[in-house]
């Protein structure tokens, strides 16, 4: 797509006019990579603004200039500013003698329960004792799903360091999480992983219930699980989950999403735009990337690879 830009004469100063066409192309290029429209527009606007008045040097053409500026902007957006070292945080909690708690939240079917199980596997590899709290008390088979994972994980890691805490269906999930954390604390668990039911961001009763689970239990980390397949909805999902945590918490210092797990990364080829939409919207890091359906399919995000995929023709 960049191939069609002609070279600029050296010494020329970039104007809004010169930039309009390449930026329009860039917006569409990003849309094709599955970056949400609003986000693509905003990023392109910022990048174009930064390029205004720049004097073109000897061998540069506009393609290289746009690409360089874009790369810088994308690196800034995608590089985490806060720490993503969960093991260190867990050890911190261990020193205080309490379990570290993580809640997995998100819309329906994105991979919360599966990736919770992958995180559990990773924690077991790091010699942590993990309790899985089955707080999806709504979706059929949700409890059995976690039971199977726990059985598999026990067999795989050849130890008894993982257990499930379940109270069946229909019960209040905030209370189950609370009981699970108490159980974890008195039984020497290092981590409690809280699985929650999927919910649409516009479903107010369910969003209120989630805000309650959070305010009752103050999990150490609220992980938003989002799938790389999602398009423009990524933005709305994240904004509304954050808004619900803020508006429905009834607390003076409400919580927000602390990090993201980007799932189904293996299903999208190089249309990696959701990674950008999600980090741009929240300013929070992608802590893990889900790359498949087995326990080992969990990775740290490779920022430069994502950027390369985003800019690739």
């Amino acid at each position: 797509f960049f191939g069609m830009f002609k070279n600029l004469t050296s010494g020329r100063v970039l104007t809004a006019d010169i930039l309009a066409e390449p930026m329009a192309r860039m917006r569409e290029h990003l849309a094709n990579k599955n970056v949400a429209s609003d986000i693509a527009n905003e990023i392109c606007k910022t990048v174009a603004k930064g390029m205004l008045g720049v004097r073109v040097g000897g061998l540069q053409n506009i393609r290289q200039l746009v690409e360089q500026s874009m790369e810088t902007a994308l690196t800034r957006i995608l590089t985490p500013v806060s720490s993503t070292d969960i093991i260190r945080d867990i050890e911190h909690a261990q020193q205080k003698g309490r379990p570290y708690t993580m809640a997995f939240v998100g819309v329906n079917g994105v991979g919360k329960s599966t990736n919770l199980s992958k995180v559990c596997y990773w924690l077991l590899q790091n010699n942590k004792r993990v309790l899985i709290a089955a707080c999806d008390t709504f979706r059929s088979g949700a409890v059995e799903q976690l039971r199977v994972h726990v059985r598999n994980l026990r067999a795989l890691s050849d130890n008894q360091n993982v257990e499930i805490f379940e109270r069946g269906y229909g019960k209040d999930s905030a209370t189950i999480a609370k009981d699970a954390i108490a159980f974890g604390a008195s039984n020497g668990f290092d981590v409690v992983l809280i699985d929650t039911a999927g919910r649409m961001q516009d479903n107010e009763p369910l969003m209120r219930a989630l805000a309650k689970l959070v305010s009752v239990n103050s999990p150490d980390k609220i992980l938003f699980v989002g799938e790389a397949l999602v398009g423009n909805e990524a933005v709305d999902q994240l904004e509304k989950f954050n808004r619900a945590l803020r508006d429905f918490s009834g607390q003076s210092k409400p919580r927000h999403i602390d990090g993201i797990i980007l799932t189904k990364f293996d299903t999208i080829d190089d249309r990696v735009g959701a990674a950008l939409s999600m980090t741009y919207t929240t300013g929070q890091p992608i802590i893990f990337v889900g790359t498949g359906q087995t326990y080992t399919d969990l990775r740290k995000m490779n920022v430069s690879q994502v950027i390369r995929a985003l800019l690739r023709a």
Binding site: S140, E144, G231, K264, I268
Partner: protein
């Protein structure tokens, strides 16, 4: 469903055009820019959006259009037609026939809503007086059989599955065989989620299809899917004979444009829309009334009938 929002924007753009005193190619470009922007925000495939723009442009040859009232009519009709083409492949949707044993196989990406929609569809036809059975041929996902079992039990629909058998082809065959023998009218086979990048998984799907020989294969797409929809839909189409599409999770904010792209990719019609997690949350879908409603028509219906 927020498709109405998209409709409102397209409608707004069309109305703005009606207010223009001169309709020249600049006005048309502005209209198309607005419409295409709205479609991209709804996750419609970028290539399809391009096509729509080109087709409208081609259809409205500005020089040939004499009066400006005629121009408006032609432009609006052309936009309406192109939008219909997006969601209407022009083939009659398949429906199970009474007095015959019908087999439907559900396929789709992971977590798209297959298992949930299976029960919904089973219930839909059960209420129409058919004897319906559900087969769980997902032996991969943890808790898959429990999920189907609990859903089916709640809806009082007979089901077949196994906790121990690992071969989905075998279960599918056994389940369909059993329900056939028991003279069921409609047998719905649920399968695991899969994606084109794992060829093994597609092979498995082909084997299940070869074994149960479905009368119709339903492709289930999540209404929030973005630009990856097209490639996945194409791959599914190449691997099995997709006959119908169900778009799920349309009870939220999603506009469904990504999933709609599957129509062009598969040439198959959308038959139902999932509008919630409960078993009755399933709406029938038909393309043209849908577009009319989306555009809050009234003024346009009149135009189209002339």
């Amino acid at each position: 469903m927020v498709l109405n929002e998209l409709g409102a924007r397209i409608n707004g753009a069309l109305q703005a055009l009606s207010k223009e005193s001169v309709i020249d190619s600049k006005a048309v470009d502005a209209l198309l820019r607005e419409i295409c922007g709205a479609l991209l925000e709804s996750d419609v495939n970028v290539r399809l959006v391009h096509q729509l723009r080109e087709n409208v442009k081609k259809q409205i040859n500005m020089d040939d259009l004499a009066t400006s009232s005629n121009k408006r009519k032609v432009i609006q009709t052309s936009v309406y037609d192109e939008l219909c083409r997006l969601v209407d492949p022009g083939v009659q949707p398949w429906a199970p026939r009474k007095g015959k044993q019908n087999v439907i196989m559900f396929v789709g990406l992971q977590g798209s809503g297959k298992t949930t929609s299976c029960t919904k569809l089973a219930l839909y036809y059960k209420r129409k007086g058919m004897k319906v059975g559900l087969v769980c041929a997902d032996t991969f996902r943890a808790g898959a059989f429990d999920q189907l079992k609990q859903n089916a039990s709640r809806a009082h629909i007979p089901f077949y599955g196994s906790y121990s058998e690992a071969d989905p082809v075998r279960i599918a065959l056994e389940g369909v065989g059993k329900f056939r023998k028991d003279r069921f009218d409609l047998i719905i086979v649920d399968t695991s989620g899969r994606h084109k990048q794992e060829t093994e998984l597609f092979l498995e799907m082909e084997q299940i299809a070869a074994a149960v020989k479905p009368d119709n294969t339903v492709f289930v797409m999540d209404g929030t899917i973005g630009q990856a929809a097209d490639a996945q839909a194409r791959a599914f189409k190449e691997s099995v004979d997709i006959g119908s599409i169900i778009i799920t999770k349309m009870d939220g904010h999603a506009k469904g444009g990504g999933a709609i792209s599957a129509v062009a990719a598969t040439g198959s019609p959308i038959i139902f829309i999932g509008t919630g997690e409960h078993m009755h949350d399933l709406d029938r879908f038909s393309a043209r009334p849908f577009i009319s409603k989306m555009l809050g028509m009234g003024d346009l219906t009149g135009l189209v009938e002339t």
